[in-house]
Amino acid sequence: MMDGLDRKIINQLQGGFPVCERPYAEAALMLGISENNLIERLDALLANGVLSRFGPMFHAEQMGGGLTLAAITVPDERFDDVAEMVNSHVEVAHNYARDHKLNMWFVVATETPERIFEVISDIEAETGLDVINMPKQEEYYIGLRLDV
């Protein structure tokens, strides 16, 4: 179970982790705990899955790659087969079932922007279904932060 210190760590360390020789020591100072204590807490939070990762979060397009959100209306009886076909592409990073007529939503991340269109047409050819491609036009990003 998480305690107050775990919550404080999660709330305060969702960004701004320093780049310096002893970053855990510097972050620990702001939290009023020791470097060792912070490292142990993070280790436990990662081990029990409360944190999925601790480190840098990258912005795919800024690396020169392609990124899009795509969706398919999949007939119920074909849902699992189509999920398998879509997921078999290494470029598919996330895939979610959602309760809508458009019931399969996935993120495609590629090394080059052009590759997005190849992956999408491959998926259309394999599944025989239309893929709706919804690349972002703009991101309204203030600061991803979850209060726990």
């Binding site: 960004g15 939070l45 840098p56």
Partner: protein
Amino acid sequence: MTDRKTIDETDRLIIKASQAGLALDPRPYHVLAEVLDLDVDDVMARFFRLLDMGVIRRIGAVPNHYRLGYHANGMSVWDVDDQDMSDAGNAVGALDFVSHCYHRSRHLPDWPYNLFAMVHGLDRAEVEDKVAVIEDLLGPRAKAHEILYSTRILKKTGLRLVA
């Protein structure tokens, strides 16, 4: 160093070696430098540059919403007049409970929605309360909206450089 707008092979090595996470070692950037046989000052300088370029959004803890009890994941989608999009998007993106907010293209006639705002909640009732806040905020700027709840995670590997 290459020009400020591109990343080079060394940057890519650093990204690949750190995308699963930083070492839980008192000197994580030194560990990275050692693994890659680079100078630690170069590694740290590249981190600053990648942050500055926006290639790294931020460095820190990535919480698992589901594991924290946020079992309801609602993608709220809105049909917003094009001329209002920028104001509407900035207003919705500024809400602290909206984790992602994007303007995406409509696909008429099937898909009239062009503003996407991701909302997490302990249950669907909480998501609906939060979506009601967005509805108030957008007012007449939004003609219609829906919430698409995720019912199953089919794949989640995160964004990875594969080459």
